[in-house]
């Protein structure tokens, strides 16, 4: 499989999912990103990113069976094991880029 590259926003979505740590859906992800970054997030952007991640195979989508939660069935998303490698890769890249710049950026 060709190596997946991740956009910045896709990284944010994946990290939020990891932080939540269980199967989740759009609303909690939006809230988690807003809580951690302290800024407002376009909800549409989250859903677009989730769709793209699903198409890349990094996220698995499952439609709830009825009765699991009140209201209409939700689309639940879970992070795939495959998503860890590109995440690690981008962390490594970013860390390397950051290292040695502490003094400049202090």
């Amino acid at each position: 499989m060709p190596r997946q590259s991740l956009g910045e926003f896709e990284q944010l979505v994946l990290l939020a999912m990891l932080r939540i740590g269980r199967e989740t859906y759009g609303v909690p992800i939006v809230e988690e990103i807003e809580r951690q970054t302290g800024r407002g997030v376009s909800r549409a952007a989250v859903y677009v990113a989730l769709r793209r991640l699903a198409q890349k195979g990094l996220v698995r989508v499952r439609v709830e069976s009825s009765g699991e939660s009140p209201g209409k069935p939700r689309s639940m998303v879970r992070i795939e094991r495959d998503a860890l490698a590109p995440l690690r890769e981008s962390r490594r890249a970013l860390t390397r880029m950051w290292s040695g710049l502490e003094r400049v950026l202090k």
Partner: protein, 890 residues
């Protein structure tokens, strides 16, 4: 409602895979937001989310579509197509490439040429402002098949009532004699026009001005507008021509303007425009033959205009018999100059030629099929290496496309060459352009597309149909991996059969036409001048008088008597000139088309009516043309109940000139029962064959009757020397006798006799070209089929050689099969061809059934040579292969 509209929008825009979950989550978010927000700000929030989602997913969708769009896909496809590879493949088989391109070029050139002519005649609008709205208003006599002209009174009446036109004008066409100072008199096509006509066309003069209202007022000085052609010939293109005096039909007129050569309106090539006064009190419409032309208002359709014209037609017509058959017709002017039936024939011809192209393309398809069959190993390897079928097909189609493109370009160029030639032969209206314009180019493209479809798709489909494993297995082996070998024998036989039959017919026809056109009539052709004189309509009819049938007949009879008297005076005046040897009149001169009409011979069975050509002549006719009297005597003046027959007629019906004298015969008038018509006419003389039907060695028979009173006659002038010298004498004599006599056209006997020969030669050339194309096509496909069938037997030949066959016996075996196929095709084709020739010959009026077998034999020989060549090359190639190699694939 406001948030519902936002959700409706979202449902329309969101992609189906995320639609449900997004809507579900949005509802959840909305609920949590509601706790914190006012109602107003909730609406804002919902709509912000909706637009945000719509925008982002729209962008997402655009990205998706772009990466998957046909444009991008085909771009990839196109880059996958190897143009250079295709070019190399074509270059590797130059014979195939050149013959295919040639085949398609000729195939495309023929319909394009025909289409261009039709385009010039029927599709192009007049090159004037709003030319497509310029129409002819016609009273068509549907029973008799001609247009009725209007009197000045009728024109004035209609002008007041017709409202569909921006401009309405009347005109009349005539041939006039025109002279200027010392320049010799000449005949020129002229139009008498109302002043509106120039406004209608909207074309400004090259020089000076056009005819104005003032020029048609009573007492206005006589003026004339001349065409550019006449202006350059007579005045050397000098602006000083304006104000000069020219004489038109003897009357001095001042030149006021010069029209561009492209104008020629409203005839085909009018060179002289004269003012036409149509006011009732003037009523000077020459010949009473007005025609109407108008520019339709933009909001009026042809149909509307036609129904308006129908309503305006006179209800009680006395000017014509069977008046109930007169219908109003409004037709685009550009189409008016050619009979609609000619258009029908033209389109049928184009359709037939397109069909010929389809056949040509099918032959190219055969060639490609055979070539692809030889390449199937190559194709199989490519398929095995992962080329998809679509890609292989695209590659093969690309080759076909390249062949067709080359064919189309060469074809269009060829058509252009032919058109340049045709421009000098066809007499088209001055305003029409016989050229390859945008419409013709679209037609060329359509033909090219048709050729690719016919020539390319089939072979590409077939060649790539078999799975690669099967194809790989059969590489180098004989047999019918493409299901083609099985067909080849049948195809060869059928193709040969049809070619021989059709070519035979074409060749026999072509030869017949050539012979038919040969003139062997002994006449003093170069010394004889011929002019058609027309006395117009009787003055009463011109003036628009209302007449009963009987009165009209009486008026015409009197008019013809007057005309005949004037003909005598004219002959006398002309005979006084020293250069003129004899003057006479006839209804028909040698060379002019003359249909055979039925006659009855006395004492013969009435059911055995014979038909022959009948010309009416005045007594001195035979003398003037040196037609020898073989027996009996010439006509006397004012004699009626006698006939003179020619030698062929006397031989055919009476066994010789002497025995024909004293016999009686009578013409059978059409629509009358035989035996109830006319008086018997006694044969008083027999003359040598004088070209009643020049060039037809079979049907030269005909007879002459005395020419009575007539208002249209052919004047025949025998000169001492050059025939053309008679024209000035004639024009001068006409001018001093009666300026109303119209000299409609002039010619010489030589031109008259040679015209049918030229036409027949043209038709013969057409047959020969069609035959040559057909011959080329059949030789090509024969070659392809033979070559393919031999190539596909490579393995068999290899085995034969391996088990000890000598090359000679292999050759004999292969050629033997080819010859058997050819022989079968030829014999069926020959029988079919002879039968077709018989049928075709019996349907045409002249019965020159000669030849046939000789032509068929020649064609068979040609095709056999092509067939042998087609067999020999692949056989030699196969024989040169090591037998081990040929059978290695086992």
């Amino acid at each position: 409602v406001i948030s519902r509209a936002a959700y409706w929008l979202l449902r329309r825009v969101l992609p189906p895979d995320v639609r449900a979950s997004v809507l579900r989550d949005l509802e959840e978010m909305e609920q949590s937001e509601q706790k914190r927000r006012s109602r107003m700000s909730m609406y804002v929030w919902v709509w912000r989310q909706a637009t945000s989602f719509c925008a982002r997913f729209a962008v997402e969708r655009a990205r998706d579509t772009l990466s998957r769009s046909p444009g991008v896909r085909y771009q990839r496809w196109w880059s996958a197509l190897d143009v250079r590879y295709a070019a190399r493949t074509l270059a590797r088989s130059p014979v195939l490439t050149i013959s295919a391109v040639l085949c398609l070029a000729v195939g495309i050139a023929l319909p394009v040429t025909a289409f261009s002519v039709l385009n010039a005649l029927f599709l192009q609008p007049l090159p004037f402002a709003d030319g497509e709205r310029i129409v002819r208003l016609r009273d068509v006599h549907t029973l008799r098949g001609y247009d009725l002209d209007l009197t000045a009174a009728e024109y004035a009446r209609r002008r007041g009532r017709l409202k569909s036109y921006e401009v309405l004008a009347a005109f009349d066409l005539e041939t006039v004699d025109i002279s200027s100072g010392a320049a010799t008199a000449a005949l020129a096509p002229a139009a008498h026009v109302t002043p509106e006509l120039f406004g209608l066309a909207g074309m400004s003069p090259l020089l000076g001005r056009v005819i104005a209202e003032a020029d048609v007022e009573p007492g206005a000085p006589p003026v004339v507008v001349i065409g550019e052609g006449l202006w350059r010939r007579w005045f050397g293109g000098d602006a000083a021509a304006l104000g000069q005096t020219v004489r038109v039909k003897g009357e001095a007129r001042t030149v006021i303007g010069v029209m561009p050569a492209r104008f020629g309106f409203p005839g085909d090539r009018v060179d002289v425009w004269l003012p036409l006064a149509t006011r009732l009190d003037l009523a000077i419409a020459p010949n009473g033959d007005l025609k109407l032309v108008g520019r339709l208002r933009a909001d009026i359709s042809l149909r509307q205009a036609e129904s308006e014209l129908s309503a305006v037609l006179p209800t009680q017509r006395t000017d014509v018999e069977d008046a109930e058959h007169v219908r109003a017709q409004v037709t685009p002017f550009a189409h008016g100059s050619v009979a609609p039936r000619a258009a029908g024939f033209g389109w049928a011809l184009v359709a037939a030629l397109v069909l010929l192209l389809a056949i040509a393309a099918a032959n190219v398809a055969n060639l490609l099929l055979a070539r692809n069959a030889a390449r199937r190993g190559d194709l199989a390897v490519r398929a095995a290496l992962g080329a998809s079928r679509r890609r292989l097909m695209a590659q093969l189609l690309l080759e076909a496309l390249m062949l067709t493109a080359a064919g189309a370009i060469a074809g269009a160029a060829l058509a252009q060459v032919v058109l340049v030639r045709l421009r000098t032969v066809l007499v088209l209206p001055a305003w029409s352009d016989l050229d390859i314009d945008a419409i013709v180019l679209v037609f060329v493209l359509a033909l090219a597309l048709l050729s690719v479809l016919v020539a390319g798709v089939g072979p590409a489909w077939k060649a790539t149909r078999t799975g690669s494993h099967v194809a790989l297995k059969t590489v180098g082996r004989g047999g019918d991996a493409l299901g083609f070998g099985r067909l080849s024998s049948t195809l060869i036989v059928t193709e040969l059969c049809l070619s021989v039959a059709l070519l035979g017919v074409a060749a026999v026809f072509g030869r017949a036409m050539l012979e038919f056109g040969r003139t062997d009539v002994q006449l003093p052709a170069s010394d004889v001048f011929v002019a058609q004189l027309y006395w117009g309509q009787p003055p009463d009819v011109r003036a628009g008088a209302t007449l009963t049938d009987a009165a009209r007949r009486a008026v015409w009879a009197a008019h013809e008597e007057t005309a005949t008297e004037e003909q005598m005076h004219l002959a006398a005046a002309l005979s006084s000139a020293r250069s003129i040897r004899a003057v006479t009149y006839a209804s028909h001169v040698p060379g002019m088309p003359l249909a055979a009409s039925p006659i009855e011979l006395e004492g013969r069975d009435r059911s055995l009516l014979t038909s022959t050509r009948v010309a009416r002549v005045r007594p001195t006719f035979f003398d003037a043309l040196d037609i020898r009297l073989l027996a009996g005597r010439d006509f006397h003046i004012n004699e009626t109940s006698v006939a003179v027959v020619n030698a062929s007629f006397a031989r055919r019906h009476f066994g010789g000139p002497a025995r024909a004298l004293g016999q009686r015969l009578r013409p059978v008038e059409s629509g009358m029962e035989p035996g109830r018509t006319g008086r018997w006419l006694e044969i008083v003389g027999v003359v040598a064959d004088g070209g009643l039907n020049p060039g037809d060695p079979v049907h030269g028979d005909g007879l002459y009757l005395p020419l009575g009173a007539a208002s249209v006659v052919e004047l025949v002038v025998r000169m001492n020397g050059d025939a053309h010298a008679a024209l000035p004498h004639l024009l001068e004599a006409v001018r001093s006798l009666n300026t109303d006599i119209e000299v409609q056209w002039t010619t010489t006997l030589r031109e008259s006799i040679e015209l049918p020969a030229r036409i027949f030669r043209g038709v013969a050339i057409g047959f020969v070209v069609a035959g040559a194309v057909a011959l080329m096509l059949s030789m090509l496909s024969l070659y392809a089929l033979m070559s393919f069938s031999v190539t596909s037997r490579a393995r068999e030949i290899g085995i034969r050689v391996a088990i000890g066959s000598s090359p000679g016996s292999v050759l004999a075996a292969v050629l033997g099969r080819g010859f058997r196929q050819m022989l079968l095709g030829f014999s069926i084709g020959a029988v079919l061809g002879l039968a077709l020739t018989r049928i075709a010959m019996s349907t045409i009026p002249f019965g020159l059934v000669r030849g046939g077998p000789a032509e068929l034999a020649a064609i068979a020989l040609l095709l056999a040579t092509a067939g042998c060549a087609a067999c020999l090359r692949p056989v030699r190639r196969v024989l040169s292969i090591d037998p081990i190699q040929a059978i290695r694939s086992e």
